[in-house]
């Protein structure tokens, strides 16, 4: 990229030269024209005084004729100089302003400021392509967790909204087509601090291009891509993209989970929530026949899952033949009472408004509630901008597409172990989930539980690692004591322990830790500080392990070491 200052100077070269020449001639004139001092002697102005006079004359400040009143010849020269210098200045400033207003030059300036912002990032950042509903939620959640991100979007309005939104960090935004590799490089793909590329644009082919560019140019980078069709999912997966997310599948999967096993749904919601959200109450869905309005891509995915869960489903669809809806489908949009009655709404247990139009979904929801007030209503919300009206309509369950996907990605990138945990959890039954939910309920207050992971190694847990090197058995239970008072328990639940040979789900407190173990916790956000404290601070660790406190002086520690490490034995 060319340097802006040089381009600026080159473009205003002529006005600059004109200004220098006008000044030079004016100054020279004042030096050469003889003046008169207060005694009437001939006096020549020096360069110093001439430059001083021309400077304030040219800028029309006008301090008067100094050091002595001018002669008529000098005044004549002043007259001439005033007009030429003022014109030269106007011409120079005018060309400069015209240049700054030029669209091409402004593009250059925004790009330069993006580049500066990018270079100023000296910590790991995420490159996010596509700043729609999902993208904006993700950027916000990442910022709250203290993680930087950079945004690329084709739409200038969205890039502007990045700057206007209330985000903790400066999020540099580049308005460019992410499917062009050069643009991705400009957006920081090759930047040493870029750790993950997330392709969230609404075009599958663009996401594919982003994923393949990343894999070729930065093979080691974690890549997450969104794909709307199963073929594209397989395609993007084929060259080693780490995570491919199908919004319809993810969304439908979550919805069917909500209907079929509420406990698991709640567990998944909690585990993939963004920080500081309010704790949702568990919802209990009634048994019976369900009505599904809309049989598009999302409706189909929901239908398949509901049928697989042995639920009775009646579909309402405006164009049943084109969408290949089941034979007993009721034809209509579902916004009128007639269609809903035809689908036997009076005897139904619940209704899912799953069209891709938010206004229609709300209309379905309100009509259905009027006909059958006891109905369990699930509404699909497509756009984030409709938040207000959806919460006013009070459906029993709102499925927000953007936030489900954003939360899932957020959880995967902030706690990689979580994806594995959720895989295991999805194979368990609802009772298992209910039990775990009530256990988590016991340790968190009214905020969603946060989750974090800890690796038992010299870097992340030096205190524990040292104890292990000295052959002192360390049970997982050390993390369950409050380091301020070990009689009280810490508000966290160890969810999973991963080691090379095995994976333990909900490990017990007496499980002995091994070097290289990775533990996934969930609990109150403050508890993370305490587990970190225990794993890093030798004294705290000794206290929670044994109940004894030791002085931490260097001398005493050295003495203790000589006495065969009795610190750890106690």
């Amino acid at each position: 990229m060319p340097n802006i200052v040089f381009i600026l100077i080159r473009r205003i070269r002529i006005p600059l030269i004109l200004l220098i020449m006008v000044y030079a001639i004016s100054i020279l004139g004042f030096v050469l024209i003889p003046g008169e001092d207060d005694q009437g002697n001939v006096w020549h102005m020096g360069f110093f005084h001439a430059f001083y006079f021309v400077s304030y004359m040219g800028t029309t400040i006008g301090f008067g004729e100094i050091p002595y009143p001018f002669t008529d010849a000098q005044r004549m020269w002043s007259l001439l100089s005033i007009y030429t210098t003022v014109i030269a200045w106007l011409y120079g400033i005018g060309s400069l302003l015209a240049l700054l207003q030029e669209p091409a030059f402004r593009t250059l300036m925004t790009e330069a400021s993006f580049k500066r912002a990018l270079n100023r990032i000296n910590e790991p950042f995420y490159l996010i392509c596509g700043y729609g509903d999902t993208g904006s939620l993700l950027v916000k959640a990442l910022a709250e967790a203290g993680i930087r991100s950079v945004v690329v979007d084709q739409n200038q309005n969205r890039i502007n909204s990045v700057e206007l939104e209330d985000i903790l960090f400066v999020v540099p935004g580049l308005c460019a087509d992410a499917s062009i590799p050069e643009n991705l490089i400009r957006a920081g793909l090759k930047h040493k601090n870029c750790v993950t590329v997330i392709a969230l644009t609404n075009s599958d082919s663009c996401n594919l291009k982003v994923a393949i560019t990343t894999k070729l140019l930065r093979p080691g980078l974690l890549t997450i891509a969104r794909a709307e069709t199963h073929e594209m999912e397989a395609n993007i997966n084929s060259f080693g993209t780490e995570v491919v997310i199908n919004p319809f599948d993810t969304f439908a999967g979550r919805l069917s989970l909500a209907l079929k096993s509420p406990g698991k749904y709640l567990l998944f919601q909690w585990m993939t929530n963004v920080p500081n959200e309010e704790l949702q109450e568990p919802t209990f869905t009634p048994k019976g026949v369900w009505i599904l309005c809309g049989f598009g891509r999302f409706g189909k995915a929901v239908y398949m899952r509901l049928v697989a869960a042995n639920l009775n489903v009646i579909v309402i669809e405006a164009t049943p033949t084109e969408t290949l809806a089941p034979a007993d489908t009721v034809s209509g949009i579902g916004t009128e009472a007639k269609t809903l009655l035809q689908a036997d709404i009076l005897n139904a247990a619940g209704i899912v408004a799953a069209t891709d139009d938010d206004a229609n979904n709300l209309s379905i929801l309100m009509t259905a509630k009027q006909l059958n007030p006891g109905l369990f209503v699930v509404a699909r919300q497509n756009l984030k901008e409709n938040d207000e009206i959806f919460s006013a309509a009070k459906p029993d369950l709102i499925m927000k597409r953007g936030s489900i996907i954003a939360n899932k990605i957020f959880a995967i990138i902030t706690t990689p172990l979580l994806a594995k945990f959720l895989d295991f959890a999805s194979q368990k039954d609802n009772d298992w989930a209910n039990e775990l939910v009530s256990r988590i309920c016991g340790v968190v207050s009214d905020c969603v539980p946060s989750r974090w992971q800890l690796a038992i190694n010299n870097h992340e847990a030096p205190a524990i690692y040292l104890a292990m090197e000295n052959n002192i058995p360390v049970p997982l239970g050390v993390f369950l004591h409050d380091p301020r008072n070990r009689e009280e328990s810490l508000n966290c639940v160890p969810l999973m322990l991963v080691r090379e040979s095995e994976t333990l789900l909900l490990p017990e407190g007496d499980e002995l830790l091994q070097a290289g173990d990775e533990i996934l916790f969930c609990g109150q956000s403050g508890a993370k500080l305490h587990t970190d404290w225990i794993s890093r601070n030798h004294n705290t660790f000794n206290y929670v392990l044994t109940g004894h406190e030791y002085s931490s002086g260097v001398l005493k520690r050295m003495l203790a070491k000589q006495k065969n490490h009795h610190v750890y034995k106690a």
Binding site: P2, F6, I7, I9, R10, R11, R13, L16, I17, I20, M21, A24, I27, L28, V31, G46, F47, F48
Partner: protein
């Protein structure tokens, strides 16, 4: 023949010749160093700088750098002159004069570099 090239070379060479004209003479003798010549050298050097700015080639960058050095040295020389005459009122004694002339000698070196670069670039183009 390219008129733009003529202007370009003209200012670069003129900057050198004026600079040399000011520099030549006894280093501490004010009579040998004309104030008008210093003034002209500064003006021409400034114009040469503006002409050089914006050339994206490597040679252009070096040419601009030499010009900036010459500007800096000459402007400092002028400021020293101004201070000696108007602020401290010591006048042009031999010490001040040698300071001014040696500053202009530095600028002269920068200008020589500039001209050498210009000539060598011209020799590369066999047209």
């Amino acid at each position: 023949m390219n008129f733009e090239k003529v202007i370009f070379a003209f200012f670069i060479v003129l900057a050198l010749t004026l600079n040399f004209g000011f520099f030549i003479g006894d280093i501490d003798n004010p009579a040998h160093h004309n104030v008008y010549e210093l003034f002209a050298a500064i003006v021409v050097s400034l114009v040469a700088t503006v002409l050089k700015a914006g050339d994206k080639t490597h040679l252009g960058a070096v040419l601009l750098a030499t010009s900036l050095v010459a500007d800096l040295q000459l402007l400092i020389a002028a400021i020293v002159w101004g201070i000696a005459v108007h602020v401290t009122q010591t006048g042009l004694d031999s010490g001040t004069m040698s300071a001014i002339v040696s500053l202009s000698a530095g600028a002269l070196l920068a200008n020589i570099t500039s001209v050498v670069l210009l000539v060598s670039e011209t020799l590369m183009v066999r047209r």
